[in-house]
């Protein structure tokens, strides 16, 4: 596929320019309109609720009530501490993993990728259960070594949050590392730069944007996480727990909305710093770039590879012990193999699994296309509108699932408006799940698109290729691996996300993640583990199928090109 094939000589340059302009604007405004309707509008409703006082008037009474409470201040300090600690650990390990995946020649690379992705495909219950099974007071480690390690609290939460954020950090940094100019590395090598120097002077500056995006995303998802904090955090109270206490514990939705609104602040601040740091241009790709292929370097591959596999061991054991326990008669007391926990009839049985797959595929499909359009449009267009849309696109991660779900009810359960048609529908669930993870997908997409040499699209445009042709022949092929990882990420996250969809499931539209929660709440922990294992199996099978199809398609293209 080359840009030349896209030349359409019948169209006059002026008409072409107009068509391109329309195309660019459509690329921008269709996803942007959806972003407005499915994110900005619900959050606006949430903002309104945060100002709504018990007597029906508007004011800042709720804010002063929350900010003045002792528990809020403590939760705020805890959240920020946890956010910074998790970010430090996760970005460092994420860089290590991304480097291992994209800049080393590793044996079983795809298995490593799968291993670190496990926390994303596992329902949040699995991570909590796994950590308790391993490190709990009655966990395998304490029992085997006769220790008294306390997992509940700061350290347990730090481990859990890091495990969860790690694949996201590795994905974003990976998108930055994926494309590098081999000529630079060759030149550096010729001039005698060591591997370490090349890393410091070439690699790091080149991926700074990706690193900052990853930092932003990890910090944000950590301070909004609820699932880990509830199970493993013990009495270490964070802001998401404050929201839970208000909304679920005491039905004070408006006070919960206040905490949700306040949670946007650290994220806006983090975003501002991230923008400030990326203002200066650096490390753009050259048009004559030669794709970098890691060569043989036994030292680099040996050390980085070993470290990466050691890191990947953590999610594998945590998830593995839960899968193992799901086959045991009565964990941890009677360890005989049984399949009885897989005979699930309660809480909808296995039906919700298929509904979840449909909704997740829709969320990921729509989502990837929207994000590609949005990313391309923002790359091509500038101006204040584009900058505002960029900012809003990075914001959804700052909204805890619980708040997003509530916001969707407020926004779409509106009788007398066309929006009510969406309420209680699968489409709304798909949209909710996509916008919940919009930030991560968007950060990965823009990082990936940044790696495209600007001269390449200029050249394509110069020879008369339309905007659509540039998208088809330059952007899509160049960012295909990024598109795939975004699609998979959205699909996987949508399969297991819980706190938002609690507000949107209906008797006839039950989701797999909610079934897992219901089984666990009903005391069927082993069945919840079994159902989680089934989810992970189905997701893995779907991923392998998609990968296989893609590989075959690429091979056919390559073969036909060679023929």
């Amino acid at each position: 596929m080359t840009a030349v094939s896209a030349v359409a000589p019948r169209v006059t340059p002026l008409a072409r320019e107009r068509a391109d302009r329309i195309f660019d604007l459509a690329c921008l405004w269709i996803p942007a309109a959806a972003l407005l309707l499915f994110f900005v509008y619900p959050i606006g409703m949430m903002g309104y609720r945060s100002l709504l006082l018990p007597d029906g008037s508007l004011g800042f009474g709720n804010f002063s009530q929350i900010i003045g409470s002792r528990s809020f201040l403590r939760a705020l300090v805890n959240s920020l501490t946890m956010g910074l600690a998790t970010t430090a650990v996760t970005v460092a390990l994420g860089l290590l993993l991304a480097f291992a995946l994209h800049r080393c020649r590793l044996w079983l690379r795809i298995v490593l990728l799968g291993a670190i992705s496990l926390p994303v495909i596992a329902p949040s219950l699995v991570q909590g259960l796994g950590l308790i099974f391993l490190l709990g007071r009655n966990g395998l480690i304490n029992k085997t070594f006769g220790l008294q390690v306390e997992i509940y609290g700061f350290w347990g939460l730090l481990i859990a949050n890091s495990l969860y954020a790690l694949p996201q950090a590795a994905m974003i940094i990976g998108a930055a590392l994926r494309n590098a100019d081999a000529r630079l590395f060759e030149a550096a090598e010729v001039m005698g730069a060591t591997g370490w120097r090349r890393f410091i002077d070439l690699t790091l500056p080149n991926i700074r944007f990706g690193l900052l995006s990853a930092t932003f995303v990890v910090f944000t998802v950590t301070i909004t996480d609820f699932g880990n904090a509830a199970v493993i955090g013990g009495d270490y109270t964070v802001l998401a727990i404050e929201i839970y206490n208000q909304v679920i514990g005491q039905m004070n939705l408006n006070l919960g909305a206040v905490v949700g609104m306040l949670l946007l602040l650290p994220t806006v601040l983090a975003f501002y710093f991230e923008r400030l740091a990326t203002q200066r241009q650096f490390g753009t790709q050259s048009e004559a770039a030669v794709p970098y292929r890691p060569g043989h370097d036994p030292w680099r591959d040996g050390i980085i590879g070993t470290l990466a596999w050691l890191v990947a061991l953590a999610p594998v054991t945590v998830v593995g012990v839960v899968v193992y326990a799901s086959f045991m008669r009565l964990w941890p007391y009677r360890l005989d193999f049984t399949l009885r926990h897989y005979d699930i009839k309660l809480a909808g049985g296995y039906d919700p699994l298929w509904i979840s797959i449909g909704i997740s595929a829709a969320a990921a499909g729509f989502g990837t296309i929207f994000l590609l359009f949005l990313g391309v449009a923002l790359k091509r267009l500038g101006g204040p509108a584009a900058r505002a849309i960029y900012f809003v696109s990075m914001l959804p991660a700052a909204v805890p699932g619980l708040v997003l779900g509530l916001a969707y009810v407020f926004a779409f359960n509106q009788p007398g408006t066309p929006l009510i048609l969406l309420y209680g529908s699968a489409a709304l669930l798909a949209m909710c799940n996509f916008y919940h993870y919009h930030t991560q997908g968007f950060a990965t997409m823009t990082t990936g698109l940044r790696q495209i040499p600007p001269a390449l699209e200029e050249a394509a445009t110069c020879i008369g290729a339309s905007a659509w042709a540039v998208l088809r022949d330059v952007y899509i092929p160049y960012t295909l691996p990024t598109l795939i990882s975004v699609f998979f990420f959205l699909f996987m996250s949508s399969m297991v996300t819980l706190s938002a969809v609690i507000f949107l499931v209906t008797p006839n539209l039950m989701l797999a993640a909610v079934t897992v929660m219901r089984l666990d709440e009903g005391g069927y922990t082993a069945q919840a583990a079994a159902f989680s294992t089934a989810i992970m199996l189905v997701v893995t099978a779907a991923l392998l199928l998609a990968r296989g199809t893609l590989w075959l398609a690429q091979r056919r293209i390559r073969l036909s090109a060679e023929a």
Binding site: I22, R70, N138, G249, Y333, L406, V409, G424, S466, F503
Partner: protein, 338 residues
């Protein structure tokens, strides 16, 4: 190029429409419930047989999740009936504003304590608070079997007790309010503060302390009888202890939504929930059936529930506990909360 783009848009819009929800149908009602998972399937099967012309769609969520959902949808409720939901939540004025009085068939046989004077709610069943004690860990730590709340003050239990957090869990609130009502304000708070010294963790949900105890994470989880009964049935090394001071309990209340668009069928269903047939089935699962003449379920009696649960219950004042909730939780957060 633009043509292709347009057709993509059209296809997108069409699939969105296909995805949208269907409208409510006659003969169909939506029921929100917090009853236990395994019970619901059985109850609904019987309801199908007894009232075949009503299709009952049930959404089950935990007490807290359901409360948030009902409040969030308050502007345009999506359900016709609340079925088996903590009465302390039901008596919240914001919820009472959403429901409509209905004198359910069979309410004349129901004690006054189990229905609202203004007929806004009635309770066919209830659940009881209990300790879940891990017998294996108890033996290993060489601890005496606790029989009462008072026994939990024993310094030997330091770090071995998990309680539900009253701020996030209705069960947690039920526990502290039963202690406060029983011992009186002053003594009650002093007791809770002393107990706090032995509590390892305040957990977010009411049944999780029991699940943690059965997994051997803690020796004692102050939790719910049904969670203990189920765990014992499954074979966990667990004992159910009903505190000798009197066990706290909660009623599972039902009500008719004022906004229901199908009140005829909603009432038919509510009548059914108080029918002898339904109560007979409750007795298969519940430790507390409010109609006179029903013994607790067999599994409950096997786990140590007496034939007349009324004899071990502390007589709760639900109206007071609903009214004082905010003040009690504020004080708990200030003096004990972590």
């Amino acid at each position: 190029m633009l043509e292709r783009f347009k057709s993509m848009l059209l296809a997108g819009a069409a699939s969105m429409l296909m995805f949208t929800a269907g409208a409510a149908q006659a003969g169909t009602i939506t029921v929100y419930t917090a009853l236990e998972e395994d019970e619901i399937a059985d109850y609904v099967a019987l309801a199908k047989k007894d009232i075949p012309d009503v299709t009952v769609n049930v959404l089950r969520l935990s007490t807290g999740d359901l409360g948030a959902r009902i409040m969030a949808e308050a502007g345009n409720p999506q359900h016709d009936v609340i079925w088996g939901w903590a009465v302390t939540n039901m008596m919240d004025p914001r919820i009472l504003a959403l429901v409509e009085p209905y004198k359910v068939k069979g309410s004349d046989k129901l004690g006054a304590a189990y229905q609202a004077a203004d007929s806004k709610w009635f309770a066919a069943t209830g659940y009881i608070g209990a300790f879940c004690v891990n017998t294996e860990r108890l033996k290993q730590k060489n601890l005496p079997m606790p029989k009462s709340w008072n026994d939990l003050l024993n310094p030997a239990f330091k770090g071995e007790i998990a309680m539900p957090n009253p701020v996030s869990s209705g069960t947690g609130y039920l526990q502290i309010v039963s202690i406060l009502q029983k011992m009186g304000e002053e003594k009650g708070w002093a007791f809770l503060k002393q107990l706090d010294g032995n509590v390892n963790q305040y957990i977010k949900s009411g049944s999780r302390p029991c699940r943690s105890a059965r997994a051997g994470e803690f020796t004692v989880g102050t939790s719910l009888a049904f969670a203990a009964i189920k765990s014992i049935e499954e074979g966990f090394p667990l004992a159910m202890v009903l505190p000798s001071e009197g066990a706290g309990y909660e009623l599972e209340a039902s009500a008719l939504m004022a906004a229901s668009k199908n009140k005829a069928d909603a009432k038919k269903f509510l009548d059914w929930t108080m029918s002898p047939g339904a109560s007979g089935l409750y007795a298969k699962y519940k430790e507390l059936v409010t109609l006179p003449g029903y013994k607790p379920a067999k599994a409950a009696r096997d786990a140590g529930m007496p034939d007349d649960p009324g004899s071990i219950l502390y007589k709760m004042d639900f109206a007071a506990s609903a009214v004082q909730r905010e003040a009690i939780l504020a004080r708990w957060t200030k003096e004990i909360g972590r």
